[in-house]
Amino acid sequence: MNDARIGSSGPKFDLRSSGRGALRAWVVRHLQSFFFSLGLMAKAPGSSLMTAGVLGVALALPGAVYLILDNLTGMTGQWDARNQISIFLTDDMGDEAARQLAVGLAKWPEIARIEVTSKADALAEYRRMSGFDDILDAFEGANPLPAVLSVEPGARYQDPATVEALSASLERLPEVDVARFDLRWLRRFEGIVEIVRRGVYLLATLLALGVVLIVSNTVRLGVENRREEIEIARLFGATDAFIRRPFLYGGLLFGFSGGCLAWIILAAAFGALAPSVARLVALYDGTYRLAGLDVRMTLILLGGGAFLGLLGAWITLGRHLQAVEPS
């Protein structure tokens, strides 16, 4: 008290954030938080795995439906390629006239390929396919069948509405009797696919919300469990960012591991399905191969999982950390 050391007010406190090697320190701080969060997860492997498992299933569900949808549209893509319009010409059109019409039509931009089936070929095919040889014989050499042009729309003109319009304009030509393509089942199928697609989006939105809620609840419990630590750290000068960081990384890691698990679940499920699908496709003489997880889907699962986890942590920290003031 009666000491020369004692000054009246002493040095002024420096309240600036210390810039100790700013960028490097920033990286070090983040690495510290990252490994700290990883360490916390590793300390309780059982409950961490359970949380990641729940997230994995939640992410795998929309992923699975999406992949199924992807495969269905892939298959219709194959059918679309055979999406031909058959043009039955009027009776008076001979084979030569048919060929000339085909040359003219081939110049239309919507038409990718055009194939002529002569009256004779049509008759031969009909004989082969139908087995009504006797009836045809009754025509005594006269061929009752018209020449047929098979028109294949170009790749950019494959959707049902365009094909229908093309078919209608072909039918308006004077040389054409009837133009036909099987529109109705394609339309119906498209309708079903559209409903399923919207269902997937809805399901994905709901389950993404589920992921956010699960992570935010996990993080909230983490905040509760470490209340004492947070209070002490605050009292010794921890900034909000310092306290939030490990929890944010925790959410990110939970989301990411959920995404990884979802990937594994989907890969395993589609791996198990692929041989059966291949067998079925072989029975239909098809070449279709089941589309599995591509790079895009992998990125969506992992990145989406990590993002949703981060979001969940972010939301809950905003609401709960303020309540943890030192006392």
């Binding site: 002493g10 406190f13 004492e228 009292l235 010794f236 000068g237 900034t239």
Partner: protein, 223 residues
């Protein structure tokens, strides 16, 4: 170093914890803060660490008017103050080393610097061999010394202690208190809240006595 100017603190609900308190603690001084429980000792400490803000008057610490320190600056202010609690408030799932390191980790020191300073602080309180142990295995006196090491590891110019000897026997209490005296010797401003009259007599530092939120005999040390 610490100046209270006509400070009044009224908690929500109208409880008046401090009434018109004015006092000064010089840089490098060691002062006891005493009074019955509920007299306002804890409130003084809470105001000093910016856990609370005063209702009237103003407080100047380290050249800063606390009322003017924005919320986002509060962490940086607290890094200049070390706090020791009656119940230690050590983290049970961390080793002694990690507990003491906390203020340094919070302030972003490097690993090497942390190791060096933590060992120095533990050495100072005589616990260098126990850095790998968990607090629960230590005696009450040892736990409190870990708490003190944590409070001084970042070399704060101000050290606050809230009933640091509350749960200790007289001999240990004197030991702990002379530890505070040692930090004071090297220039740290120390404020110790205690109701242990024996200690006040034994050490003879200046005493600030609170009674129902008012400062009494603020100047004189106890006889």
């Amino acid at each position: 170093m610490i100046q209270f100017h006509n400070v009044t603190k009224i908690y929500r609900g109208g409880v008046e914890a401090l009434r018109d308190v004015s006092t000064q603690i010089a840089s490098g001084e060691m002062v006891f803060l005493t009074g019955h429980s509920g007299a306002g000792k804890s409130t003084v400490l809470r105001l000093t660490t910016l856990m609370e803000r005063c209702s009237r008057g103003h407080i100047v610490i380290g050249g800063h008017n606390l009322a003017r320190i924005a919320a986002r600056k509060v962490p940086f202010f607290r890094r200049h103050i070390g706090v020791v609690f009656q119940d230690h408030r050590l983290l049970r799932d961390r080793t002694v080393f990690d507990n003491v390191a906390l203020p340094l980790v919070v302030a972003g020191y490097t690993h090497l610097e942390i190791a060096r300073r933590v060992r120095a602080a533990l050495d100072k309180v005589g616990l260098l061999g126990k850095e790998r142990q968990f607090p629960i295995l230590l005696s009450g006196g040892e736990q409190q010394r870990v708490g003190i090491a944590r409070a001084v590891v970042h070399k704060p110019p101000v050290l606050l202690a809230d009933e640091p000897t509350g749960n200790l026997d007289p001999e240990l209490s004197r030991e702990i208190m002379s530890l505070f005296g040692q930090f004071n010797q090297v220039g740290v401003t120390v404020l110790v809240a205690t109701h242990d009259v024996e200690l006040l007599r034994h050490f003879g530092y200046r005493v600030l006595a609170l009674n129902r939120g008012e400062l009494v005999n603020a100047r004189e040390p106890l006889p």
